[in-house]
């Protein structure tokens, strides 16, 4: 393979060889990515500037300029509000999820009896939400049970609902009760969305050499110092991963995605739906760029 590529060319330098082999390794993955993620992405960009009609003759795409974007931002009644709410929710939840999952990963990395079971428990919401239960569509009671399993319904019955009832009877004002139950529901959201992030941090902590901790202990460092001077810098590249993952994860459930889906597949306005998705995409990208910029200044690489 190598000699074929070099045939008839001047001998390559070491750096060039490295670059070539690097590219060869990336190629199979890159092909898949281009076909199944990048091409559909570009097609949807084209759709967002067109009106798309599906008929027996096939799909006809007619260029209409910026009108879908204008419609989404100025005419559609729910788009602006949903966009703002989804992003605000994301900005509040993502940092909380990342901090909570780092905290739990450190706890779950310690040696105690039933550690694997404890890890499994925190990973459960991911399995429940990964579609195994949710996609069992049905109109029966099972669906209600499944929804309760996948969503927060059951938790509401068990926590905030009873809590709210008790506090109301005790004469606490309604505003306070609403605030508290809101906080409880958010805790549930955060716990149930942290499964993957905890795992990623755990894997990160496991790649830290135990010698570092031993050495710091000999020098008299406390556990608190060891966390900030060893654990935190060593897992800092993964904070970015987890921010990105939390944002993607927020996608699969939030109101914005529902609006995009309903516009596309219930009202069959596929152009408008694509335009909405692109506006949302750009807004999220801006947030991501800012957070990447802030985080990457703090990230520590071991080399």
């Amino acid at each position: 393979m190598k000699s074929h590529l070099q045939f008839g060319l001047r001998p390559r330098t070491y750096a060039e060889k490295k670059a070539l082999w690097g590219f060869v390794c990336v190629l199979p993955w890159l092909l898949g990515f281009l076909f199944f993620f990048f091409v559909p992405l570009l097609t949807s960009l084209r759709y967002s500037f067109s009106s798309v009609d599906a008929s027996a003759q096939g799909v006809t795409v007619r260029f209409v300029g910026w009108s879908h974007y204008a419609e989404a931002l100025t005419i559609n009644t729910s788009f602006n509000r949903t966009l703002f709410e989804s992003i605000a929710n994301m900005v509040v939840n993502v940092p909380l999820i990342v901090i909570f999952s780092l905290f739990l990963a450190v706890l779950l990395n310690q040696k105690f009896i039933g550690r694997t079971a404890a890890r499994a428990i925190f990973f459960l919401p991911v399995i429940l939400a990964s579609g195994i239960i949710m996609r069992l569509d049905s109109t029966s009671l099972v669906q209600a049970i499944n929804e309760a399993n996948a969503g927060a319904n059951i938790m509401n019955t068990f926590t905030s609902y009873e809590l709210a009832g008790m506090m109301m009877e005790a004469g606490v004002s309604e505003t306070v009760v609403d605030y508290l139950t809101g906080a409880v529901d958010r805790i549930y959201q955060i716990v149930s969305q942290s499964g993957v992030q905890i795992l990623i941090f755990l894997a990160g902590i496991q790649t830290i050499s135990p010698q570092l901790y031993e050495a710091s202990k000999m020098e008299g460092a406390t556990g608190y110092e060891a966390f900030w001077k060893i654990t935190f810098p060593m897992v800092s590249p993964l904070i970015l991963v987890n921010v990105v993952y939390s944002i993607i994860d927020a996608f699969s459930t939030n109101a914005m995605t529902e609006l995009i889906r309903d516009t596309g597949f219930k009202s069959f306005n596929f152009g408008l739906s694509s335009a909405m998705a692109w506006i949302y995409f750009l807004a999220v990208s801006v947030i991501l760029l800012i957070s990447t910029f802030v985080i990457s200044r703090k990230v520590f690489y071991h080399d």
Partner: protein, 289 residues
């Protein structure tokens, strides 16, 4: 209430004991949030039909019974396509999809993390940004790509895209960047080939990363129902087949609960196996900087 008690204890007892007790309580509280839905599903699967419909719903089962599972077996015995066919389809998708994804993603992540070639930074930014896009909007373009490739109604249409998910590359790259360059250079000076460095140094050192990736990818593919790409009954997945059973309405509620439990057990088992095999790696041991 409880925390006050812990603090009082801490004055007399060993402080680390009090701290760990406090942390244990904290873990238990958060854990309860996560574990309740599973407990509920387990209880439901063993409830007889009359208990399933009690209102208000009861959490724990009173008279546990295997009836729901017997019903499931007899129902599957009557199906037109044998159950083993669904299982084989699902296993093929999950195993090939998961293993292939880990291989392709890590092979692509290694040069992105350790060799800078022209355009590698741009490529990586595109990958990260593409993660941010809503799947519903790309559904129709995706279908058109599949039909252009002629892959509609084949298992390839599920397996091949799953190999190229952007998340795996992103995760593997971040982990591989943490391997010190000095380690790779030392191997090179000792005469190891790139291939050997990749298999005997890079991959073992990021074992926690690819085990995590496996845990992420497996339940996703396990829960795949063939989507809009597969319409032949004999190519459908186990998830789809069992899902159809619950379409029977109220009478199938008990069987549905049993189905939910069976589908959950496999990913959870895999998770426990893989987590207990994770060990500390030694990437940075012996480094003097």
């Amino acid at each position: 209430m409880r925390t006050i008690a812990v603090f009082r204890l801490s004055r007399k007892l060993n402080r680390s004991f009090a701290t760990s007790l406090f942390l244990f309580v904290l873990l238990a509280v958060f854990g309860a949030f996560s574990a309740l839905p599973l407990l509920y599903a387990v209880n439901n699967a063993f409830k007889p039909l009359d208990e399933l419909f009690v209102f208000p719903p009861r959490f724990f089962v009173n008279n546990p019974t295997w009836d729901n599972f017997y019903d499931l077996v007899s129902l599957m015995g009557n199906s037109w396509v044998p159950l083993s066919r669904y299982i084989a389809n699902t296993l093929l998708i999950t195993i090939v999809g998961t293993a292939g994804h880990i291989l392709l993603a890590s092979a692509a992540a290694y040069p992105l993390a350790k060799y800078r070639f022209p355009g590698s930074r741009t490529l990586f930014s595109i990958v990260v940004l593409s993660l941010m896009f809503s799947g519903h909007v790309t559904a129709i373009p995706n279908y058109m790509v599949m039909s252009w490739l002629g892959w509609i109604n084949t298992l390839t249409s599920i397996i091949v895209p799953s190999l190229a998910f952007p998340l795996g590359l992103f995760l593997m790259k971040q982990f591989m960047e943490q391997i010190p360059d000095a380690l790779l250079e030392a191997a090179k000076i000792d005469g190891a080939s790139e291939y050997r460095i990749y298999w005997t140094i890079v991959m073992p050192n990021v074992k926690p990363a690819w085990l995590t990736l496996m845990i992420l990818q497996f339940p996703f593919l396990w829960g795949s129902d063939g989507g809009s790409f597969i319409y032949s009954e004999n190519l459908k997945t186990l998830h789809y087949a069992l899902g159809q059973i619950t379409l029977g309405g109220i009478a199938r509620a008990g069987v549905g609960a049993a189905v939910a439990l069976i589908l959950m057990v496999v990913p959870i088992t895999l998770f426990i196996i893989s987590q207990s095999s994770v060990i500390q790696t030694m990437a940075t041991s012996g480094m003097k900087d």
